[in-house]
């Protein structure tokens, strides 16, 4: 499995991580190695096997529809990089 630069750029874009040309090459080498490792999975036939998402056979518990949380703006706005009138500020979002 070979990773060309375009492939790396596409994945990096999906993950919103900048990767420059230099790094892209290093990353693709390492990724190829890891994929080689992962490809070992093809050696076993799993056609009739059910995927296992959770260790134990338990099901989703439900929560009572009650309001339990309070206004925490004092804490949350302080933790943010840029706020204005209780809003988190980011560069303009274009629709």
């Amino acid at each position: 499995m070979k990773f060309d630069n375009d492939e790396i750029k596409k994945i990096a874009h999906l993950a919103r991580i900048n990767i420059n040309e230099n790094e892209a090459k290093k990353v693709s080498e390492k990724l190829e190695g890891i994929l080689g490792l992962i490809d070992q999975m093809t050696e076993v036939n799993t056609d009739s096997i059910e995927p296992m998402a959770h260790a134990l056979d338990i099901t989703q518990p439900l929560r009572e529809d009650k309001v339990t949380e309070v206004d925490m703006r004092e804490k949350s706005l302080k933790l943010s990089n840029e706020t204005d009138q209780s809003l988190f500020i980011v560069p303009r979002v274009i629709e």
Binding site: I11, T46, I58, P61
Partner: protein, 484 residues
């Protein structure tokens, strides 16, 4: 006081041999003297710790103390603790003061324990050597030119260096057991769902579990009594009757069937390490256990399966680190896209970025079936292997890691070499079973751990089996010269 176990400290506080304040000051002092040489801690806050100690002393005065009341415990910096900087070993959270307590921290607070400080770790728990932390490497107290293991390297080094009597840690692919092995400690990864993940910064949600890192199995049991329990804030938390992990710890193990998987003793295992494991097996035979050969035929697939599932889940779990609401944000950016991409390029280290890329790739259009779905299917096969094995034995025994502590920098450039560190531990996480590592000997004066894997919810038995081993051997009492 640094040589006392939790059990002894608990007794000492009860008998008023010393106060929590004295105890806490003592350990904070040791941190002052020794932490810089091993870099086990990211955050130490004397004021906060001492305030907790004072409160604990009041509780003790009233006679309302629990087992761990007043005892300073080191907390892996993966657990959100309100008011404490909580970084997960990453630049991304270097400025993050947690606004809430994780359930694990809440439980320790309720038990009256003292937070000794936040320990160093591989960034976002991704690593097996504690070399990926933004806050620098952690050094193994047994030989500071070597790694302590990871990702809970800081917790391991803190306890091994006698800077804390015990620590919390987390294990996703072996991150409690492998560092415990490399640092001569006893560490337990509980059954998935036994300890709440609420407030524990997520790496791979279906694999992550928190557990204790101590000198003895008995101490681990005391920690488990505090840490475990159902949490309605965590949907994956198990609801079952609460157990006291100390109750049966002295039970006889005569007739215990110990399964030894042949796949754990193939190439890749250092021959000296193998000898030490064999010694451990002999010891158990002496204690009346029966040894059974078993097979875990799909064990070698656990690495590829893990390196699909864990990065996939991680790539999604780490998407929230975007500089919008908290955490690191890049200084200069032209627009939103620029802000996202630069923030995540600068905020994450190389190994984290690599795993996010792998995770993104295996989940991307057209690859889901071949990778993620396939991995989940093999996961079931691995789990079935254990089920079959437990029909023949009560507990499985093997190595925790393929070698002893290796030199810093040795495997850093080769991720695949690093990933092989987890070859004996990963399958346990995939199956959700409990696993424990305890000291079994020394090789070149570096510790070797023995791993015990139990069936679901058999922590009490594991701790019992480990404890009996420890009442008949002395490996767990050894400490590195420089830190005695």
């Amino acid at each position: 006081m640094q040589n006392l176990t939790l059990k002894e400290l608990s007794e000492g506080l009860k008998q008023k041999k010393f106060s929590s304040l004295e105890l806490t000051k003592f350990f904070l002092n040791r941190l002052d003297l020794h932490n810089s040489s091993i870099n086990a801690f990211i955050t130490i806050d004397k004021d906060k710790s001492l305030a907790m100690a004072k409160r604990a002393d009041e509780i003790i005065k009233e006679g309302n103390q629990d087992y761990l009341t007043g005892i300073p415990i080191a907390q892996k910096d993966i657990f959100c603790a309100e008011g404490w900087k909580t970084t997960c070993g990453s630049k991304m959270l270097d400025n993050f003061i947690a606004p809430y307590d994780s359930t694990v921290i809440s439980k320790f607070n309720a038990a009256g324990a003292v937070n000794l400080g936040k320990t160093n770790m591989d960034e976002f728990a991704m690593g097996s050597s504690n070399e990926t932390s933004y806050y620098g490497n952690v050094k193994n107290p047994w030989d500071i030119k070597t790694v302590p293991g990871g990702s809970s390297g800081g917790s391991a080094a803190a306890v091994a260096g006698m800077l804390a009597p015990a620590a919390t840690a987390t294990d996703t692919g072996g991150s409690i057991r492998q560092p415990a092995s490399l640092c001569g400690l006893t560490g337990l990864k509980p059954t998935y769902g036994l300890v709440s993940r609420y407030g524990m910064i997520a790496f791979a949600s279906s694999l992550d579990q928190a557990g204790p890192m101590c000198h003895t199995a008995e101490d681990c049991a005391a920690m488990m009594n505090v840490m475990s329990g159902h949490d309605p804030k965590d949907s994956t938390s198990i609801e079952r009757e609460k157990e006291n992990y100390l109750t049966g710890i002295n039970n006889s193990i005569k007739g215990l069937k110990i399964g030894v998987p042949k796949e754990f003793f193939s190439e890749g295992l250092d021959s000296e390490v193998e000898k030490i494991i064999e010694q451990g097996i002999s010891e158990y035979k002496k204690l009346g256990a029966e040894i059974v050969e078993i097979s875990l035929p799909n064990n070698h697939l656990s690495i590829p399966v893990y390196y699909v599932i864990a990065p996939a889940e991680a790539s999604s779990n780490l998407s929230r680190y975007d500089g919008v609401r908290y955490g690191y944000r890049t200084k200069e950016y032209d627009d939103l896209m620029d802000m996202y991409c630069k923030t995540r390029e600068e905020g994450f280290g190389d190994e984290v970025k690599r795993r996010i890329m792998i995770g993104t790739y295996v989940l991307s259009a057209g690859y889901y079936d071949a990778y993620y779905l396939k991995a989940q299917k093999i996961r079931r096969l691995i789990s079935e292997d254990f089920k079959k094995a437990f029909e023949k034995c009560d507990v499985i025994l093997g190595p925790s890691a393929p070698s002893v502590a290796f030199p810093i920098g040795d495997k850093k450039e080769d991720p695949l070499k690093m990933y092989m560190q987890d070859v004996y531990t990963i399958s346990t996480n995939l199956a959700g079973l409990p696993g424990l590592s305890m000291p079994g000997g020394l090789m070149n004066n570096l510790p070797v751990g023995i791993q015990l894997i139990g069936n679901y919810f058999s922590e009490a038995k594991l701790l019992n089996i480990a404890h009996i081993f420890q009442t008949n051997t002395n490996w767990h009492n050894l400490t590195p010269e420089e830190f005695k």
